[in-house]
Symmetry: C2
Subunit: 213 residues, 2 copies
């Protein structure tokens, strides 16, 4: 599948069918995730694949409760885009256990030579996650990049028996899409590109910036 | 171009020709970068494109000096992979000004609703950077994801007139490749995949983990 078409139609897929995903496809996703670059090619990434129903249910329950409480604490959305986004977050959080597969992208809490981990680690884990999602799209699988795991970090670490020196970057529910892939909606390039220096700040004000994905 | 071939051959391209890159191609790269997801589709990213020779030279000079000093401070490499990696870092740092284009991927220092910025921001900027590099590869352009900019953050911010509430995630030198694209070399999938839980730690010891990119 053409790379440009993949990127243009790689929507966050928050609605997934319960049908199982072949193990070989999961391995393919991890293969392509690991084609991403990493600082000094350290490749310090690990992928925990959860398909066990009971584990998914525990993860889904705790995150569903916490995201529901969080969204309830937001001010009421004053526009349609925010309303849809809240709804999408809730749907995703409350249906995590229904995804046939959860993939947790993990990395070490520190690096050789005492490099500052915070950004250096993310600089390899998030490109890998992006490759994984593009590969999923090309195979016809839906995915969403979420950091919901942060809301139940200690519980998930315990259930998955993660060592203390491993942290979770993000969690991707994966499955066959229950909605169509379609073009993502984004701000025009002119609004985010700056030639030679920052120049006038063209960033639109909050409220204009969140068309529906 | 097929998305899997793009990912498999998207090597860090540290050697670039000085030939100019059409403006339309740069706009295409930013277009595809912005197909990436972002938390709640906030799309809080900006791309500063530097082609001005004097600005590139200033950036290249300061980073070249600092990376050279940093690499000199490392213990001497005790294996070929580390030696090549050091050499690659030095070459890249010392030749930044020769790249026809430097793209700085930027984002806000904080987000609406007081979300913790540190990880949330990286969770959208690095996927965008990955999309940008894949699009470059598909167009035949070479790129490298570098965070060298961190070594001269205050200078670069001043020269590019970045507002205080904007930070730089990474800097990508872009240009026509002076080497062949080729398959990236990575650890086998079996070493980084964990089914259902962490299970025995299969991560190889340091020293085995950096085959040449």
């Amino acid at each position: 599948m053409d790379v440009f078409e993949v990127m243009e139609t790689c929507r966050a897929m928050r609605y997934l069918k319960p049908d199982p995903v072949p193990r070989e496809m999961i391995e393919q996703l991890v293969f392509y995730a690991t084609r991403a670059p990493s600082p000094r090619n350290t490749q310090e990434w690990d992928f925990v694949i959860v398909t066990d129903e009971a584990t998914k249910q525990r993860i889904g329950d705790v995150i569903g409760d916490r995201i529901t409480a969080r969204v309830a604490s937001y001010p009421p959305p004053d526009n349609e885009a925010d309303r849809r986004m809240n709804e999408g977050s809730l749907t995703l959080a409350q249906s995590l256990a229904n995804a046939p597969v959860l993939i947790l992208v993990c990395g070490p809490t520190d690096y050789p030579r005492g490099r500052p981990i915070e950004k250096w680690g993310w600089a390899s884990l998030f490109p890998a996650a992006q490759n994984l999602m593009l590969a999923a799209r090309a195979l016809g699988l839906g995915s969403t990049l979420t950091t919901f795991n942060d809301h139940a970090d200690s519980e998930i670490r315990e259930w998955l028996e993660l060592p203390d020196d491993v942290r979770i970057a993000c969690m991707l529910p994966i499955g066959w899409p229950a909605r169509d892939f379609g073009p993502v909606r984004r701000r025009p390039v002119d609004e985010v590109i700056h030639w030679e220096r920052w120049q006038p700040d063209l960033r639109p004000q909050q409220g204009d910036i969140a068309p529906k994905d």
